[in-house]
């Protein structure tokens, strides 16, 4: 039987070809895919440790000119619901994160034409001055490209300047499906083509940064296009070795222009498993409990995942599209241990930081994730007035006397 022959390739530590991966993804029973993925996870992580990170997912602005059809989070320039956080708001979030034992911000936002490169540089410098050991895992490849276009600088220069200001690593957001046919249909081709996304990651890796990679599936792509995405990532990882982890999640259709129905839980587990098998050069796979819920998030640990991702503390993007799950550190650890693993805190580089924080210090329970602004108000912070705006509305606004 073809599936069994291919399964043997995996069992013997061989590398899957595109056609073999396709055969498994389409025809292997879910339990076999899970078994193979779990075997690979055990080979890569024989110590039985499952990691997680305490960091905060901050979206500094929801103003965006990209207008991706799958996004329910963005607001167009000039929208009264558009917001851009100020430095003080971000510092406050960092302090709340530190109080929970966190050590990093995952900072991402819309493609806001009124937030120039200098704003990011100043922000990163001030963060590093105030909180020297705090890490900035920030700005996905499409944001780097957006800043590059705004500032008329090549992406490598933008990366170099941001690193100089304090950027520590780059998150793998905005990958969606790395196939241009799909990106055109999703209206995200202009924010970054597949090659552009990969090239930013290549440049980042060459600059010494580590990054993650993601995949948002379950919208207009075919199975072959999902696999093409995985194989393109595998090829780049062969070249640079700079990816620390891969994270897959299903498209969340609520309130989006694209709409439709969400891929199923079983499809998520199968996709995770096939990713574990194809991405044999990725050391870590994260569970996406924020899109799948805590229960299926935990089941991911049997289908190839060795990391529960972040406790997040705050989430805005997925929530806007209808998913509202919350797991604080206590819940993440309880789920890891309930599945028979050893729970350990990590940083973005997957260095083990130690025991769960709540066992070392008192940490309050968190039963709901925070949002960018608790009062939901729009508007940009006063400190943005110091920076050059691109949109006519913002130029006029910032020219007004204070």
């Amino acid at each position: 039987m073809q599936v069994e022959r291919i399964a043997d390739v995996v069992r013997q530590g061989g590398r899957l070809s595109f056609e073999q991966a396709r055969e498994l993804y389409l025809h292997a029973p879910t339990s076999l895919l899970g078994r193979l993925a779990d075997d690979v996870r055990q080979r890569l992580h024989p110590d039985g440790v499952v990691t997680y990170i305490i960091d905060r997912n901050v979206n500094y602005t929801n103003v965006c000119v990209a207008r991706c059809r799958f996004c329910a989070f963005y607001r167009p320039v000039g929208s009264p619901e558009g917001y851009t956080l100020g430095f003080d708001e971000i510092f406050r979030k960092i302090e709340e994160t530190i109080a929970l034992g966190g050590e990093q911000l995952l900072l991402q936002g819309g493609h806001n034409p009124d937030v120039p490169l200098e704003w990011y540089e100043d922000l990163f410098r001030q963060v590093k001055a105030r909180y020297p050991s705090f890490r900035m895992h920030a700005l996905s490849p499409p944001e780097i490209i957006h800043i590059s276009r705004l500032s008329h600088l090549p992406p490598e220069t933008v990366i170099a300047r941001l690193v100089d200001a304090g950027l520590d690593s780059i998150p793998g957001g905005g990958a969606e499906i790395l196939v241009d046919r799909v990106r055109r249909l999703l209206n995200c081709y202009n924010k970054a083509t597949a090659d552009e996304w990969l090239n930013v990651m290549r440049l980042a890796h060459r600059a010494g940064l580590r990054t993650t990679a993601t995949m948002m599936y379950g919208h207009v792509e075919t199975i072959d296009e999902r696999l093409e995405h995985l194989f393109r990532l595998r090829d780049l990882q062969d070249e640079t070795g700079g990816f620390t982890a891969f994270i897959a999640w299903s498209f969340q259709p609520s309130h989006t222009e694209l709409g439709g129905v969400e891929a199923t839980g079983v499809e998520y587990l199968r996709t995770l498993a096939i990713a574990r098998l194809v991405l044999d050069n990725f050391p870590n796979l994260q569970a996406s409990w924020v899109t799948q819920g805590g229960k299926v998030g935990q089941l991911s640990l049997a289908f190839g995942a060795n990391d529960m991702g972040s406790v997040m503390i705050e989430e805005n993007v997925v929530r806007a599209a209808g998913a509202e799950y919350c797991m604080d550190e206590y819940e993440v650890v309880r789920n890891i241990e309930n599945a028979g693993f050893i729970a350990r805190r990590r940083n973005m580089h997957y260095d083990i930081l130690g025991e769960p924080m709540f066992r070392l210090q008192k940490v309050p329970r968190m039963l709901q994730l925070a949002v960018a602004r608790a009062d939901g108000r729009g508007g940009e912070a006063e400190d943005l007035r110091r920076y050059e705006a691109r949109s006519p509305e913002a130029r006029r606004r910032r020219a007004l006397p204070q």
Binding site: T264, G297, Q298, N335
Partner: protein, 300 residues
């Protein structure tokens, strides 16, 4: 982690039609290899009901009102009426608009609270409810503090009054392997009372701060399927457990999706699944969907 095929002997015994012991179920529940637990659960499911997965669109009503255009396979009266007379009135109202759709309602916990466990009283009340149009008691919670032998008599008394008793549930239960007690109770009750069509082993009440885990839910479903050969379907509540966990449960031994929404209610969010989506979810889990009604009869 345990090695592969740690539960291979259980799979073989199920295939041979042998019943599993409490010790077997504990091994299954304690096995950290979730994939293998799933293999056992799914094998037990296939052996019991093949690839057919049933589902039921349920219209839940608290006040007895039923919309005119109804796609439901079951009208279920939920809540705890203040008295049996109130319950009879609710049933009468729902039944008058049911147009042939089975009307079910109430929990045995409510009934026992109002009437006690005296057989004659139960039969009398069951008769009144059945006379008003109730076809089945909606749920028999196994966490009621009654011995199984007593439960068997209660079920018989209710049936004598004209109510069907098909569905076993758990309202709330401590987490972990103690939940296997309910699997044993379910099998014993089904064996002795007969005609139990479904058992929903996942509790209806889950603490918000410490909910049950996906592993424990999946293992409990598998243990229920492997440990209850006398019950046709292991059931998962679609709205209560959500599409992700409910669908995944189908790959661990569940064979029925209960409480699929009967009206297109946007407030249900992702749990508002249309029949076409239920169909897609079941097929994606490797099953063949069959719609049923509240009496577990095939529809259409």
């Amino acid at each position: 982690m345990t090695s592969a095929l740690a539960l291979g002997d259980l799979e073989a015994r199920l295939a041979a039609g042998e019943p599993l012991t409490r010790g077997d179920l504990e091994r299954l529940f304690d096995c950290p290899d979730l994939i293998e637990v799933g293999v056992v659960g799914e094998a037990a499911l296939r052996r019991r009901t093949g690839s057919e997965i049933t589902f039921c669109r349920v219209l839940e009503t608290r006040d007895g009102r039923v919309p005119a255009e109804l796609q439901a396979g079951e009208i279920r009266i939920v809540g705890d009426p203040a008295s049996v007379d109130d319950a009879v009135a609710l049933v009468r109202q729902a039944a008058s608009a049911a147009n042939g759709t089975p009307v079910t309602g109430f929990s045995l916990a409510w009934l026992v609270d109002r009437v006690g466990t005296d057989d004659a009283s139960l039969t009398r009340v069951a008769s009144a409810l059945a006379g008003a149009g109730l076809t089945a008691l909606a749920e028999v919670p196994l966490d009621l503090p009654l011995e199984v032998s007593r439960l068997v008599k209660v079920v018989a008394a209710l049936r004598e009054g004209g109510l069907a008793i098909h569905r076993l549930t758990i309202t709330a239960a401590p987490q972990g392997r103690t939940r296997l007690d309910f699997v044993e109770r379910a099998e014993q009750l089904a064996r002795e009372a007969g005609d139990i069509r479904a058992f929903a082993p996942l509790p209806r009440v889950d603490p918000v701060d410490v909910p049950s885990t996906g592993y424990d839910d999946a293992k409990l479903v598998a243990a229920a399927r492997a440990g209850c050969p006398s019950i046709e379907r292991i059931q998962v509540d679609w709205q209560l457990y959500g599409p992700k966990m409910a669908q995944v449960a189908l790959t661990f031994g569940a064979g029925d999706l209960d409480a699929v929404a009967a009206v297109d209610d946007p407030s249900l969010g992702p749990r508002r699944s249309a029949v076409a989506d239920i169909d897609r979810q079941i097929r994606a889990a490797g099953g063949d969907p069959v719609e049923r009604d509240g009496l577990y009869r095939r529809r259409g």
